[in-house]
């Protein structure tokens, strides 16, 4: 049973430039407008003139999930634009499709006996494989439990799922441990928020602006004295700015 109403608005949104932010952030919620987050059309919304570039790795079903996930984890409010505006979906796509996602610097020789928490990550899966299988597990859970896609659930329902995964209480029928899967999602969320914009997220340095991190600026030799316990005016610079 497919819910066709959620697909169309999302595709339309993605074709637009992100400068039309007010339209975008409402339509991404799809059919379930009653549960749409109240959105303030924040003053700094024209984050980038570049249109959304597209996906290289996430499948359509995963795209819907990730878009909903990043909007839920970073809703648009007075502090920052929403997760899509910030490009968190792009961050996920490029990271999972890139060399880190494919297991760069991860020792993947078997066997893979389960260990204690102190022994750390012991699955024989790359981050991309873990994401793909975990997302399938989650989708299956949503279908079984709600008869709906994650992206069409209410905000509270989404939140309960995230909390359930974080605690490990939520079980996936394909055997992927939800806690390990979620830990990766959460870490990627922070990376998308605060990594250099060159990686796809933190668009226009809006994540950095939100907290007051200056980015690539090299020199605080005098600032540490001059601005000790005083407000320091931040104009964040990124890798692209220096180039």
């Amino acid at each position: 049973m497919t819910d066709s109403t959620d697909k169309k608005p999302r595709r339309d949104f993605l074709k637009q430039t992100v400068s039309s932010a007010a339209v975008a952030t409402v339509s991404v919620m799809g059919a379930d407008k009653a549960n749409a987050q109240s959105v303030s059309s924040s003053p700094n919304q024209a984050l980038s003139q570049e249109p959304f570039a597209g996906y290289v790795w996430l499948k359509p079903s995963e795209q819907g999930f990730v878009e909903a996930l990043v909007e839920h984890m970073c809703p648009a409010d007075s502090l920052s634009p929403g997760g899509l505006e910030l490009g968190l979906n792009t961050y996920f796509d490029r990271a999972l499709g890139g060399n880190w996602g494919n297991g760069h610097r991860l020792y993947l020789k078997g066997p893979f006996p389960k260990g204690s928490p102190n022994q750390g990550y012991q699955l024989g899966l790359t981050p991309a494989e873990l994401f793909r299988a975990g997302t399938q597990g989650l989708m299956s859970y949503c279908k079984k439990t709600f008869g709906k896609l994650f992206e069409t659930l209410s905000s509270d329902q989404k939140e309960n799922i995230l909390v359930g995964m974080q605690s490990g209480k939520l079980e996936f029928d394909n055997g992927i441990p939800s806690q390990v899967y979620f830990e990766q999602l959460l870490q990627m969320f922070y990376e998308g928020m605060f990594a250099d914009p060159i990686y796809g997220g933190n668009r226009a340095k809006a994540g950095w602006k939100m907290i007051g991190y200056p980015g690539v600026t090299a020199n605080h030799r005098q600032n540490i004295i001059k601005f000790k316990n005083k407000p320091y005016p931040i104009t964040p610079t990124s890798i692209a700015d220096i180039n």
Partner: protein
């Protein structure tokens, strides 16, 4: 396997000790080859801005560190568990490449003193023999602070340490660390600026009667030229120190000091991308004849003969090489026999997070070692351990090393970890948070050791090093004591709120703690209790030396690089002045 032309000395690894010995020995005319498993590292090509401000790549993808697919360890807390691979870097972050971890460390450099070197004698004298638990295998090192004093001085000058002396020729100065052992000279560079966090710590510590001082660190407080002519830039407080290379050459590292100094010598050769797989000994096992290595770029294997072999790799790798080479007897925890792999130690620690509504810390204005520290509960021998029942101690300090936001996004307990409430919390507290942290010593234990794993292998098909390690009651008591001190200090500072420090009861391989892994080829007074003498010379194999923290019979709360550098210079002098004139054992035992 191709056999190459014999050289006088082959060094395994081009980090601090490889660089120090490379320069010292080739300077006196010896033909020295230094084999580094990783690639070249130069400030001009590897450590430029903006690449060196990329938190994701450097701090979280660990781009300057070892790839676990090349080499990693298997880990377990005790022998009842099956050791499993350390698949992803976490708790500790070994370096690789020319300069090793010295290209991306924070720079903390301390002079370990006789409270470490004579630890067993001192504890027995003050607290009684029964005070030391049966399974705690501490021992005196066989070297003294007095022997190393001038070599500490030399290393500090080489690495460009910024600091303030607290005990200059017996004269105590509370602007420095009054608990340090007496030193002849000031630090080569004055201390760094005080951060707000450091100042607050200093005020609270002083109110409690704990001497505090600017932490000594290899971040140059001014432009500096070291005795070998290496030029250091002034530290710019860029807030991207540990895990990052320094574009200003303000952070002392082997790649910009001792390695270039060695390369100036006619008889020194550095070969990169050469992975040493085995130390070869003759049929008697009493003489090293050279090393086997694989050229990583071509896959070809070579035997490099040498008159002397010196292991200068990271502590783990030295132990691993001894085991895979079959030199010495592997430690057996059941019988207590064998010494290779014995007395593996790590560190512990605890921290409180303090939130101040009315203060701005600017965490991104930072250096690797900025901040104030206190040795009141560590090198201070007057600190009475008896009420707590532990051996060892903790250093304390405060000073933010950077505000890189993927990792540094502090919020008070109970704040959600995502969503609008999270955003509200992190944007409010990012600038308004500091920590008080301790570093704690770890004593050796019969049950903590290194050996070879029976299942998993490295890139070359060799068994991985297996680490069996956990904190014992000693470290739990120590951790509880310092957590209480930290929380009292936090109270004293009157923050808006703080997340309490708690005792650390078990070692997890997951969150980063420190890369101060020690032991496995310990030094000592005779062949029955140690692998090497005080010069790192292997008992029974006179032409084989081992450098670095695998020599340490126990681990201090202090960072290890001070004695790592000093012992390397100490050994270099002994080799130049004594060994070369009359090759043989340097210590009679």
């Amino acid at each position: 396997m191709k056999t190459l032309k014999e050289v006088d000395v082959v060094l395994v690894g081009a980090g601090w000790t490889g660089g120090i010995l490379g320069k010292e020995l080739s300077e006196s005319g010896l033909q020295v080859v230094c084999l580094e498993r990783g690639g070249e590292r130069s400030t001009a090509d590897d450590f430029t801005v903006p690449r060196m401000r990329d938190e994701l790549a450097l701090a979280h993808r660990h781009s300057l560190m070892v790839d676990t697919n090349d080499q990693t360890e298997t880990i377990r807390n005790n022998e009842q568990q099956r050791a499993l691979p350390y698949r992803r870097l976490g708790s500790y972050l070994p370096g690789t490449g020319v300069g090793g971890a010295s290209t991306h460390w924070n720079g903390h450099t301390w002079r370990w003193n006789n409270t470490e070197f004579k630890i067993k004698t001192m504890y027995e004298e003050k607290y009684g023999k029964k005070y030391i638990p049966q399974d705690m295998t501490i021992q005196d090192w066989g070297v003294t602070y007095e022997e190393l004093e001038k070599y500490y001085d030399k290393f500090e000058k080489t690495a460009g340490i910024s600091g303030k002396a607290g005990n200059l020729n017996g004269n105590k100065d509370p602007r420095g660390n009054i608990h340090e052992a007496s030193r002849k000279n000031e630090y080569p560079l004055p201390p760094l600026e005080k951060s707000l966090a450091g100042e607050l710590f200093e005020a609270a510590a002083t109110a409690k009667g704990y001497n505090s001082f600017p932490r000594p660190t290899a971040n140059a407080s001014k432009a500096y030229t070291n005795p070998d002519g290496a030029k250091f830039g002034e530290c710019q407080y860029c807030g991207h120190c540990e895990r990052f290379g320094c574009e200003a050459n303000a952070k002392g590292g082997a790649h910009m000091s001792v390695i270039p100094a060695a390369l100036k010598q006619k008889t020194f050769e550095l070969r990169t991308n050469t992975w040493v797989t085995k130390v070869i000994t003759d049929s008697t096992g009493t003489k090293a004849t050279g090393v086997n290595y694989t050229h990583v770029l071509t896959g070809e294997e070579y035997f490099q003969p040498a008159q002397m072999v010196i292991l200068c790799a990271f502590s783990f790798n030295n132990v691993h090489l001894m085991l895979t080479s079959g030199i010495g007897k592997p430690y057996n925890p059941q019988t207590g026999e064998g010494l290779i792999g014995k007395n593996y130690c790590y560190q512990t620690g605890s921290a409180a997070t303090l939130f101040f509504e009315d203060k701005l810390f600017h965490p991104y204005m930072a250096t690797g070692g900025i901040g104030m520290g206190s040795d009141h509960f560590h090198a201070n021998w007057d600190f009475d351990r008896a009420p707590f029942g532990f051996v060892g101690g903790s250093t304390l300090g405060a000073g933010l090393y950077g505000g890189r936001p993927i990792a540094w996004r502090p919020t008070p307990a109970g704040t959600p970890q995502w969503g609008s409430a999270w955003k509200k919390g992190v944007s409010k507290w990012y600038e308004r948070t500091m920590t008080i942290a301790s570093s704690g010593s770890v004593m050796p234990n019969r049950g903590n050791f290194l050996d070879l794993d029976p299942t998993w292998t490295n890139k070359f098909g060799q068994p991985l090093l297996r680490m069996t390690f956990d904190y014992k009651d000693n470290e739990r008591k120590l951790s509880a004591q310092i957590a209480s001190v930290i929380n009292d200090l936090a109270q004293e500072m009157r923050p808006t709120s703080f997340t309490k420090a708690t005792a650390r009861n078990s070692w997890s391989s997951v969150p980063y703690q420190s890369t101060h892994n020690t032991g496995g080829t310990i030094m000592g007074t005779n062949p029955s209790n140690s692998v090497t003498n005080k010069y790192g010379q292997v008992w029974g194999v006179d032409n084989l030396f081992i450098m670095g923290a695998s020599l340490f019979p126990h681990n201090s709360a202090y960072n290890p690089t001070g004695p790592v550098g000093a012992i390397a210079y100490f050994a270099a002098d002994a080799i130049k002045n004594t060994y070369l004139k009359k090759p043989g054992k340097l210590v009679d035992a």
